[in-house]
Symmetry: C2
Subunit: 165 residues, 2 copies
């Protein structure tokens, strides 16, 4: 699992498509205009999303993209995995004899961390984000993120001195 601006752009764009799904296929030009992402980059991203069967394309005038599955079954993890380059585990390429003494400490360690991050992002669906976006009218409410269908309040902060920036 890798996490860069590429994945962010892809998720944002997919959310835009989901938000405008009721009025037919969504053209990338509109997404570019609304989300301020360059059209060329969007075309590149949606090429990957289409090849991974997350969206389907409609060509010609009035065409555009629409989701290939229901928004409630499309997760953030799906999108990120589709567009981000796969991270290579480097040493110990598949094999388990890495250093010899304690065979690839890195692998197990990062695999488990990876898994937790993926699990988390796989619990957030596009439908969740759409709903969260549309319920944006009451700014006094606590921030809520839906996880696997159940709503979970999240107001605790990290106690370490990290500046999210």
């Amino acid at each position: 699992m890798r996490l860069t601006t590429k994945g962010r752009f892809a998720v944002t764009a997919m959310l835009d498509v989901a938000l405008h799904a009721d009025s037919g296929p969504v053209a990338l030009a509109g997404v570019s205009e609304r989300q301020k992402i360059s059209l060329s980059y969007l075309e590149q991203l949606f090429g990957k999303l289409r090849r991974n069967q997350l969206v389907e394309s409609v060509r010609g005038p009035g065409g555009g993209y629409h989701l290939a599955r229901a928004a409630s079954t499309l997760t953030v993890a799906d999108i990120i995995v589709a567009v981000e380059e796969p991270i290579d585990s480097r040493q110990c390429e598949g094999k388990e004899n890495c250093a010899g003494d304690k065979r690839c400490m890195t692998h197990d360690l990062w695999e488990s961390l990876n898994e937790t991050v993926i699990n988390h992002l796989a619990g957030v669906t596009l439908a969740d984000l759409v709903e969260q976006q549309r319920n944006k009218s009451n700014p006094g409410a606590a921030r809520v993120v839906t996880l696997r269908g159940r709503q979970v309040k999240r107001n605790q902060h990290t106690e370490s001195a990290v500046t999210p920036q």
Copy 2:
């Protein structure tokens, strides 16, 4: 929060330092040998870690690095934030009038996802990883990751068709 091989290498190296802390300063040459990470790259990474006061250096023969704080207070999030380049939020640079109609949907969305990932990684300390690494003798036990001092079993998998690779 950004997540690339850079952060992985840094966490691996820091874990190696923590594992060999009992025999004085840990030389980067040894870390390079054991973890198969190039010495030059390690030097670059530890330059950042030192400037962020996560490690302290001892120069001269017999020198090396040792942790600046107790392993139980050094989190994975600390390490990653120290070495990874800060991610820029791109459009809507601090201001809240981004697209006009729904003022920067991206920002809130990704901020919350970011926060959850950081929260998670901030809950895993180097001491946790050291213990997990040393308890590696019984392979039949369920995989366990300690979170904020409390042990949490994690054997659920994502139900979506993501190949972690």
